[in-house]
Assembly symmetry: C2
Homo-oligomer: 341 residues x 2
């Protein structure tokens, strides 16, 4: 017995220690309930245990536990088209009365006439025009309002659900699990930063300062004593491919120890994460479930997973087989019966 | 007595509550020891108490307690020249053997010959050439190494101290006080983000992801299997004047409720902070102490404080009179006797 601490304090100290550790124990019980006991769940838990165990050679200090997640196709669905592009197309229709010239100008005419063939023919240049027309030329506060209004009212053409309900329950559990273990979770995605901030805090528990995405140049001004920040049409940063490690370095200034993506646009982010010292986790969501979600990879125009899949297989990164490893896709789904081991 | 909780648990609950509140009590005792009891200390404490008191109409949720600080002239000194420019000039000398052409090319020749007149004549364009030559063309990791090495070895021409010791003790106490009250403290400064990250965590307790500054375009690449991020000479964002609210909006995505600066380059950041709803704190450090630091404002080339001083006086922002309100400037100074009230 410790002679310095009187006997009656031992019981109290023990109770105090117990009280302080209860929240952690509660989480440790079943951190990833919607995951079958497959290789991905095992890899994630082993990684987290290794880097959070103070006695492990792989221990990482809490402030360096940076985890980055792509959004489209990694945290929510992205079919039949990136949800933000669907937002842009519906915004074109909403704004059309103020732009009579759009009736006869591509790619706007194609959107207004639901002419998917003409829209596809306009290519990436066309998409950028639609995004530019709906994402810029207003203050950052006004854009936030537009995005929030749409997210509340719009419904997905296939499921009929609000887009913010088409998020992946198993990935929400990973976010929660990581945060309970001292990780800071970030979104690093090709989506517009302002668009993602309109829902990331409420839906993923990721606050605005941890959302990194594509940005436009802005302009601060004061008119009649009123301060505002205008979104201009000039692209500041394209947060896709090599743009992801670049923005991670610029905004976070630390190299992540865990990265999760689902497409070739995430390859460089995973490579950058993998190239650091010590234990690392690189994961890809593989869309293999045509029944409950969508099945696509190497040939898809949206979320193509080809080079990154080769690299993952070559390097032993974790590839999540959605069909067999996820007991539930969306929070509103019923869970499938737990696998018999 | 509560019939649900047995008597013996009451004492334990009380001890637990006490143990959990001790760190806060310790801080509340004397939060700003190096400040005289002048108007600035009073304004800061009244503001913090109002926004952290759950029963106050001015209460602000912890996640929205964003505080932003300029660096040069606000958290550390900036005379006789911004310390980062002094770093650049010394780097030019270090790198000169690899650049024989600098001997006969301005503004490099001026730096190598200590010709301050020719250097001044090269103007802002000259400064940018010197900064470009010393801040770009290397990986972000290599630049971090150069900055850390210089900060360790270099000494200030007047005080003979390392630059990282010429930080303002009263401002360190504000940073600590705010953090103890649930604030998140950011640097938002015209300095290069990478340069400031090389010391901000250790010196100010501000981690890399809370350092916002001027940035250059970077380029991710993989050569021979090695991933790197190269700093290119193209300016991505000039974090001065209107660039400050723009970067706050882009990186943080929340409007600060407290902002501290010292020069006209901070005016728009203070205006943006002031323009939000609810209670706000806008502060300026006024360099009025020619004996212990430097005295300068409207006529200074470095850290000019002219328009922002007029605006502060007009709007009732807090202007810190360094000479009378600070008992101590640098951590290594002796404190002056406490004012008699």
């Amino acid at each position: 017995m410790n002679p310095i601490v009187p006997r009656q304090f031992h019981g109290i100290a023990w109770l105090l220690a117990l009280a302080l550790s209860l929240p952690l124990l509660a989480h440790a019980a079943e951190p990833l309930a919607s995951w079958n006991d497959g290789p991905s769940k095992k890899n994630i838990i082993e990684f987290v245990q290794a880097v959070t165990d103070q006695t492990s050679k792989d221990f990482v200090k809490p402030e360096e536990r940076i985890a980055v997640f792509d959004n489209d196709g990694t945290l929510w669905s992205e079919q039949p088209m990136y949800f933000e592009v669907l937002f842009s197309m519906e915004e074109i229709k909403r704004l059309a009365p103020q732009h009579p010239e759009w009736k006869t100008t591509q790619p706007f005419q194609a959107v207004l006439e639901n002419d998917h063939k003409a829209l596809a023919a306009s290519g990436m240049e066309g998409i950028l025009k639609i995004v530019g027309a709906t994402h810029t030329g207003m203050t950052t506060e006004a854009f936030d309002d537009y995005a929030r209004t749409w997210l509340t009212q719009a419904r997905h053409p296939k499921t009929g659900k609000p887009y913010t309900e088409m998020i992946f329950q198993p990935m929400l559990e990973i976010l929660d699990y990581l945060r309970s273990q001292g990780f800071k979770t970030y979104i690093v995605s090709g989506g517009d930063t302002g668009f993602m901030r309109a829902f990331a805090d409420k839906v993923y528990g990721i606050p605005p300062e941890q959302v990194i995405g594509t940005t436009f140049v802005t302009a601060f001004s004061i008119n009649d004593g009123k301060a505002s920040i205008l979104r201009t049409p000039k692209l500041a940063h394209n947060d896709d491919g090599p743009g992801k490690p670049e923005s991670i370095d610029a905004v976070i200034g630390r190299r992540p120890i865990l990265a999760f993506g689902n497409s070739d646009g995430d390859l460089q982010m995973l490579q950058w994460t993998a190239a650091g010292p010590g234990k690392r986790f690189m994961g890809l969501v593989h869309h293999t479930d045509a029944t409950r979600e969508w099945a696509y990879d190497r040939q898809s125009q949206i979320g193509r997973l080809d080079k990154a899949l080769d690299e993952a297989n070559k390097r032993g990164w974790t590839v999540v087989d959605m069909a067999s490893e996820w007991r539930r896709i969306y929070p509103y789904d019923d869970a499938t019966p737990k696998q018999v081991q």
